[in-house]
Amino acid sequence: MLEPLLAPLREEFFLRALAAVVLGGVTCACLGAYVVLRRMAFVSTALTHSILPGIVGALLLGFSPYVGALAAALLTAGGTAWLASRRGTSEDSAIGVMLSVMFAAGIALMQQARSWRDFGSLLFGSVVSVGPEDLLVIGLTAAGVLLSLRALHKELELASFDEEYARLLGARPGLLRAVLLALVAFGAVACVRLVGALLTTALFVIPAATGVLLGRTLAHVMAWGAAVAVLGGVAGLYLSYHVPSVPSGAGIVLCCALPYLLARLFAPRR
């Protein structure tokens, strides 16, 4: 009876994917608490989508896809800030411009490489694609991001709740925002193997949105979010394993959406 649960565990690639989804899920859920509470969902979408041209470009030029992905995400964050720094362009439209331009560049580059099919796993994630070196990158990224969040917890909380008081104390809310965007870029790069460039944003938004419905403090929101991300991630991997036509990214997102829906329906009104 337990065979459907145990069979995948005998496969090495599945164990790697499990480790990756736990590490990446916890990282994205904790970052996602800020993304959701600071209404940064759109900019996180832009960052995750812009990974596409970074990876494709890196593959075409022959260097590490992680370096390309990170460079592209940081370019998007910087470009958005630069476009929005002048009056007449709201941050909203700046994000819209960068998102579509970067994604269009990614599609143009993919045509250059003339192999759409190879990039399917890039867009939607793939359970078999996590190699040992990928797991190492994900683990280091997760450790770095989580430590940064812990070290800056009180400043990020303060700046997210009362930006002006943070300014008054000299706690540099502008700098903290930039740091947060960079951390989101790192988190997105870590998850792109499993969830894909198109769906990574869901890992930032859905678990944390569930956490906001259930948690009373920021730490509780992060804990609930991490639980949803881990549960949804593991369930999604099993779904993708047993139904090979479902890419892992789609499976993970669908499995994370279920607890969100339940929380939305049944969480006590605060």
Binding site: L158, S160, A171, R216, H220
Partner: protein, 260 residues
């Protein structure tokens, strides 16, 4: 027995965070004797590219004084308070706040906006909000686990003791305003800049804040923008901003027996 995992977790945290240096948000300042506020030829605008709200204003407020700032809407009361807080740069003139030109990162100055721009749905208890006043004394990477006694005292002072664990989104406007005042108390500020603090308050909240201001510790200077003549009567000094100029309407600092 049940607190053993918590203690281990705590040790794990502090051993990692202990590796990080503690960096203050701004360089600590040395207190200077003299008036709390002194300005000469001060000109400032609400927005960098907007017209000047007031020009060539001179101002002196002694330490420990309670000053009311009155004037019609749009006369520049808020801009003046923001200049003193260091949030808006002065366009011209000199201004000294507690012996230094205004700047951000000053733990000795507290400012309460008329409509504080808070993320109201943020998951935060009132206690945590008030504790944020302590951050001024900590700095980057520094844990802030102490100061609970100060937080409790400030909550009691503003009659918020029963609400300490309540999330901020469940507080009324008046309770939140009192919470922000408690935060300024915990910060240990010597100058309190209040922009129409009564605008959002019902009668009972107002009475609490009124008593807090009347019984404030000696040496705490308060500058409060207000529309209420009753506030002006309770102040040691009344300043009026009108037509871009500042006038001293009333000054009884010399007869102020409270701080004598």
């Amino acid at each position: 027995m049940s607190d053993r995992p918590a203690r281990l977790w705590e040790r794990f945290h502090s051993s990692i965070l202990g590796l990080l240096p503690s960096i203050p948000y701004a360089t600590p300042e040395v207190p200077v004797a003299g008036p709390a506020i002194r300005a000469e030829g001060l000109t400032a605008a609400a927005r960098p590219d907007g017209p000047a709200a007031f020009t060539g204003v001179a101002l002196e407020i002694p330490a420990g004084c309670r000053a009311a700032l009155i004037g019609p809407n749009g006369s520049g009361k808020s801009t003046l308070l923001r200049v003193l807080a260091g949030l808006t740069p002065a366009r011209d003139g000199t201004v000294e706040v507690l012996g230094r030109s205004p700047a951000l990162g000053r733990r000795r100055v507290a400012y309460l906006a008329q409509r504080p721009d808070l993320t109201h749905y943020f998951p935060l208890t009132l206690r945590r909000l008030v504790q944020m006043g302590k951050y001024a004394h900590h700095g980057w990477f520094d844990e802030c686990r102490h100061g609970d006694a100060d937080v409790d005292r400030a909550l009691g002072l503003l009659e918020l003791g029963d609400l300490a664990e309540r999330p901020v989104h469940a507080l009324s406007g008046g309770q939140l305003q009192r919470g922000l005042l408690a935060r300024a108390t915990v910060q240990g500020a010597e100058l309190l800049l209040l922009d129409e603090p009564y605008a959002a308050l019902d009668t009972s909240s107002r009475a609490v804040v009124e008593r807090f201001l009347a019984e404030r510790p000696a040496g705490l200077t308060v500058v409060m923008a207000t529309h209420d003549p009753a506030d002006a009567r309770r102040s040691d000094r009344v300043l009026e901003l009108r037509g871009g100029a500042l006038r001293l309407l009333h000054d009884c600092a010399g007869h102020d027996h409270r701080h004598a």
